[in-house]
Amino acid sequence: MKKILAMMLAVVMVVALCAVGPTASAETPVKAGFIFLHDENSTYDLNFINAAKEACEALGVEYLLKTGIPEGQECYDAAAELVDEGCNFIFADSFGHEPFLIQAAKEFPEVQFCHATGTQAHTVGLDNYHNAFASIYEGRFLGGVAAGLKLNEMIESGAITEDQAKVGYVGAFPYAEVVSGFTSFFLGVRYACPAATMEVTFTNSWYDPTLEKEGAIKLISNGCVLLSEHADSMGAPTECEANNIPFVFYNGSAADACPNTFIVASRINWAPYMQFAMECVMNGEAIPADWTGTLATDSVLMTEVNEQAAAAGTVEKLEEVKAALADGSLKVFDTATFTVNGETLDEYLADVDDMGDFVPETNAISDGYFHESEYRSAPYFDLFIDGITNIDA
């Protein structure tokens, strides 16, 4: 008897729980499908996988994950199979997935497709295909400020002179996303340490531990005293730790692997966008063609500052700068803070509409700053500013 009573109680509780659960209020039930280039062993994909789980669990949405999907016809097949499984919201995480996801979006107009880092949603003219990115340049700027403070500390302690305040940057491709990233990092460095200069080298690969390590060695032997990077392996950080060179990271913390040199890292948190887009599907609302997450939407996050490597007062300074960025009183790409070939810019045409013609058509500079990620979500700042040297050129 007791057993039956307990069982009944349990059933009642489960029913009650379901009744107040988030799914109950949803109008259109969502089933989400996610397509990832690699699996959780890649720092880049792990960041997306965690966000997908977080967003789906927050909304009580059923989801399927497909990992290891190459940037080819396989992406279309994976998307179509997810549609067959009943998914009405599909998300892909890699730049090269875009044309194949568009192909699927054309074939399944009733399904919403979202793509991270892509460039074509605002020109392709489909109601069910969308791009998203985040103002990660603000995160990189904050990372740069932390780096600049570290340089100041090194100058004050006499470890280096002002002339030696040179930072290095290991980039993947000379692509706008990377250029925008290292420029904002450098502007952050100079915001804190005006004497700083920077050298950049490219690996021409998004993930290549050996090349990233070699890039770091090259920069260190050129006299760079602090490094940062935009590529997806631990190649550069481990080299920095071995040489006791402080560095600023991307995608996640490296405090465990590099306790003596890791200062701070920025990363994009994709969960707010995924949650927002799925809520749109639930409520039958349109998802904008482009969506750019910001510090305010929690899309741009900083890891905890590693006090062992960072300069004293870094945490406080970052809070202060972050507040200034959030209320708009500080602009990362303020044209008063940089020059190109010795000149201050008041106008610059960027290739925002990526039609494969390489013709820039949109003026991105007005009101005294470069409007990054405003005319489309993916970055389009591709200028080499003074103070940055490309050592591969």
Partner: protein, 366 residues
Amino acid sequence: MNNKTRSPLIHVSKRGLLPWYKTWAIRGAALVLALVTCGLITSLVTGQNPIQVYGAIINGSFGSPRKIWVLLQNISMLLCISLAVTPAFRMRCWNLGAEGQALIGGLAAAACMILLPGKLPNWGIIACMCVASVLAGAVWAAIPAFFKAKWNTNETLFTLMMNYVATQLVAYYCVVWESPKGSGTIGVINANTELGWFPQIGSYKYLLNILIVAAVCLAMYVYLNYSKHGYEIAVVGESERTARYVGIKVDRVIIRTMLLSGAVCGLAGLLLVGSTNHTLTTTIVDGRGFTAVMVSWLAKFNPIWMILTSFLIVFLGRGSGEIATKFGLNRSFGDILTGLILFFIIGSEFFINYEIHFRKSGGKEG
């Protein structure tokens, strides 16, 4: 036990030819053992119900008409490259460069698609793609073949290294033809005009590839078994000296066979770029050049059996992906199961060829 010379505990001897039903009984037993082992490991390691896991593996290939088409398409691409390496293998010439030969074929096709629009009509572009891809693949294989025929260099290492050269060339052209600027990716070529895209048969995206590879498979079977060339390949494979003695020009056979091998690889690259993906990446061949070695070996270099062995490999691969999605397991777990099943299947060949005797108890000598 007074024997001074002890017979060994385990003693292996070569078997005679077994009747077909016995060999298949051994293979069947191996498969059953493999499935039982995989089931045990699955429930021990992941706590999932192995029957459901097997169900998901089958579902990964046959769950919907679309999945069956994808399965057939994947089989045809793997089979095409396996067919390509087979003539060389029959000659005991270990062409491990199929990956690079297919890649360079794909590069040639992409070059035609990018450079020729405006200069030639669509059919002209497609014709150029076919010729260029097959030639490129053939040349890529002919270089190591020439060195082997002339100076007896090691073709295994040579063809293997040619893969890296091909990958780097493709990486270079991915940057030359990149769109958008700086991204290092080409994107879909001629997305709006569809110039150089192979025609689609009805609403079946992959049917053309499947038919072409089926034809190649049949042709290869006839070529290897019923032509003079096929016979020469077999003789050179058995013994080069015998071949020389009966008047076969070994150098010529080596170069000719490798040319064929490379040409079929080039065809695979052509289909991957022109018919399936319409783009070019360094990973477009996706390791099939190496998987093909296993497909060809498992089928004992018989083109018809290769349909079955390539099915097996693709089926297991698709199953791995499905269980990763369905149970939230890492794809590597599917690969572990695939590895185990292959281990048992390859292992069964040992028991077909050899017999194991255990030392009998008592004084009898073995």
